[in-house]
């Protein structure tokens, strides 16, 4: 139990996938313009990532094994693409505006390096099934956390007197950098 908790805290805060591993920056910058959108994106990613972690673990352990290890990345990508496709259809049906707002970033969850990265890290760290699930969930929650906080900050920044050369994406990058600086405060907490 304590182990699971450590994994969860570790992935959400200490080794945050965006702030510390610098993965998944594309949706982090792309879908953080509005708070509501970022929450939805976080939810979608959480769903995909948790599911992908679990299924990837099952495929890796029971289908591929050591013999077919070279198929690992390939099969993970296929699985993720499938789950994303499903999510896409689901969102398109339930919330067309959200679908439009997420735009290209929804199918791009497929190529979100965080989503592929976490199943691969699971294999590297030799997590068991539950650990993989929690690792995936934690990574996704960490992603959602920083995405949502970042979106709220960008909404406020929108109205700030940022000097013209720094307006828009550049001040967002600086903010992400300072946020990452703050997250370094968690360094050393676990392992």
């Amino acid at each position: 139990m304590e182990n699971y908790l450590l994994i969860l805290i570790g992935t959400v805060f200490v080794n945050n996938i965006v702030m510390s591993k610098i993965l998944g920056l594309c949706p982090f910058m792309g879908v953080s313009r509005k708070l509501e959108t970022s929450i939805a994106m976080g939810a979608a990613t959480t769903f995909v990532l948790t599911l992908a972690s679990g299924i990837s673990y099952l495929i890796d352990t029971y289908l591929l094994g050591e013999a077919l290890a070279y198929l690992r990345t390939l099969s993970f990508i296929v699985v993720i693409a499938g789950i994303v496709g499903f999510t896409e259809m689901f969102i398109k049906k339930t919330s067309p505006v959200l679908f439009r707002v997420l735009g290209i970033y929804l199918p791009l969850i497929t190529t979100n390096c965080a989503v592929l990265g976490i199943p691969l890290l699971n294999v590297l760290e030799r997590h068991d099934f539950v650990e993989s699930l929690i690792f995936g969930l934690g990574g996704a929650l960490g992603f959602t956390l920083v995405l949502v906080l970042f979106a709220a900050m960008r909404e406020r920044l929108e109205a700030a007197d940022v000097p013209l050369p720094f307006k828009g994406t550049s001040i967002a990058m600086i903010t992400a950098g300072l946020m990452s600086l703050a997250f370094l405060g968690f360094a050393g907490l676990i392992r």
Partner: protein
């Protein structure tokens, strides 16, 4: 055209607010100089100078008038807080880099006064502790804990030449927080740790008096209604509750709440850093959440983290949460059934 109201309360301005905060810092600063030598005057001078020059430069670059913005005192306050949180005997360029991060990156890239998301002084501090960890331990030992008490001239020598009549080793010492963390991790008994010279009656030697002076200054600010009670109380409560719970669980590994309150930058953080209105939460409930969590994080980082103190990172982390917290803690507006998220 200007509409109503046509009158103003009159006795308040940004400059007055900043001046009151700086006035409240004076007792703490004097205590600091008393216990840790005159180095603080050097770093204060350097930070203030760099800050004013950088601020003027950036205002000029951005085409803004110098007088009202330099005159509002906000940049001096930032420099003062930065100087108080940095070790006093570091080389001069360290103060320059710290001020650079504080004034340029954290403040002016965001549009200057009132627009920044992160506490400028804490950005400066965090940037330095990440970039130059070795220099960030150059804290002079408290009076009585080190053999040599420094003169102003010697302090200048150390800051500008790096070496003078005295070496850094003769006057610097590990802080109480540092000692506690390293020693408890080594398994040294608590009683043994507490007898070391950097520990005082209840907190860190010297620091405890400085902290008491900050507390005094903070109470003055409270009585002058410059700050509200929410942030300091929640911040200190966060520290006390977290450290108290840990201390109850394992007194051998975790210091008692009083030690946490009266060592490091806890008091400075509670009354002067976390209360920076621009970067702190602004709604009453938001302030409690913001400062309470910051206090919690201070203890977490002090206990398990890799840095000498947790205040800067705790405040920066909570700064990042402020827009989100504010969004969801708007109070119930008159005539509405319940508080609603916009």
């Amino acid at each position: 055209m200007t509409g109503s109201p046509h009158v103003h309360v009159g006795n308040t301005s940004v400059a007055a607010v900043m001046a009151k905060v700086m006035a409240a810092l004076i007792p703490g600063t004097i205590a600091h100089a008393w216990f840790f030598g005159p180095g603080i005057w050097v770093s204060l001078l350097l930070c203030g100078l760099f800050a004013l020059v950088l601020e003027a430069l950036l205002l000029r670059l951005r085409g803004l008038p110098l007088k009202p913005f330099l005159g509002d005192g906000s940049v001096l306050l930032t420099a003062w807080l930065l100087a108080l949180s940095l070790p006093t005997l570091a080389p001069w360029w360290l103060y320059l880099i710290g001020t650079l991060f504080a004034v340029v990156v954290a403040k002016h890239l965001y549009g200057g006064l009132g627009q920044n998301l992160f506490n400028p002084a804490m950005v400066g501090y965090a940037a330095l502790i990440i970039g130059f960890p070795a220099y960030m331990t150059l804290w002079p030992g408290p009076i009585g804990a080190v053999d040599h008490s420094l003169t102003l001239w010697e302090a200048f020598d150390l800051v500008f030449a790096g070496q003078g009549a005295v070496s850094h080793d003769a006057v610097t010492a590990a802080t109480a927080l540092d000692t506690w963390r390293t020693q408890t991790r080594l398994g040294t008994p608590v009683d043994d740790i507490l007898t070391r010279p950097m520990f005082g009656w209840i907190g860190a030697r010297g620091h405890e008096i400085v902290a008491a002076m900050y507390l005094l200054g903070g109470l003055l600010l409270l009585s002058a209604r410059v700050i509200t009670w929410h942030i300091p109380v929640a911040f200190l409560a966060g520290i006390v509750l977290t450290s108290g719970a840990l201390h109850l669980i394992d007194p051998a590994a975790h210091a008692d709440p009083l030690f946490h309150l009266f060592s490091g930058a806890a008091m400075l953080g509670a009354f002067f850093i976390a209360t920076d209105p621009v970067t702190a939460a602004s709604t009453p409930r938001g302030k409690l959440i913001y400062a309470g969590l910051a206090g919690f994080l201070v203890v977490v980082i002090r206990t398990w983290g890799a840095y000498p103190d947790g205040v800067a990172f705790a405040v920066l982390l909570m700064n990042a949460c402020v827009p989100f917290i504010d969004d969801y803690t708007h109070p119930r507006v008159f005539g509405h059934k319940r508080a609603s998220k916009p």
